[in-house]
Symmetry: C2
Subunit: 122 residues, 2 copies
Amino acid sequence: MAANGAKVNLQQKYGKFTDRWSAKILAQINEMQLKAVKIKGEFVWHSHPETDEMFLVHKGRMVMRLRDGDVTLDAGELYVVPRGVEHCPFAEEECEVLLLEPVGTANTGDAGGARTVEPEWI
Amino acid sequence: MAANGAKVNLQQKYGKFTDRWSAKILAQINEMQLKAVKIKGEFVWHSHPETDEMFLVHKGRMVMRLRDGDVTLDAGELYVVPRGVEHCPFAEEECEVLLLEPVGTANTGDAGGARTVEPEWI
């Protein structure tokens, strides 16, 4: 458990973990948390009925699969998934992503299931 | 005026403006807005009594002056200024920064004055 108070170096934080699809909390801004996650392969289709969710690619490439088409995101590109919109993140090779979402947002949203992970501070 | 809906390429967005200390809105996530700003020189000492504020350096180096010391931030480093904490951003050379703060947050906080700027979408 950590908290705000010191500066955060993204590269150093991504170097501290290897597990995928398990977001780590980097900072909290009011009720929102910025999280670091490594992804590879396909996640589960889900939505967050109560909240928007921002994905910002730090390194690599990911695809945000949406029911009406894919959005490819390279490093330095971001996309906001609006609340209630079904999405399924995918990455062919490992990709480092920053997530921004409210405290308590489940990674699997309304889908739940085995891939649900409780985030921890890093 | 723009809004969410398409992906945002940070480098492309920073290439669209040259004015400093005038944040441009890139995305909105619930009540929070992600903004791009270019800074050089010293801003004004101020605080935001109602909200935390995140600074993430995209390119260059900035110093967050705080009453109890400076925090130097290079590209890929972030810092959260807690609500109510006086701060004064500074950059010796032009620096590109991402800001995260609630809709309606004044750039000069409780200080007000001539350097107050209303942000626009870019």
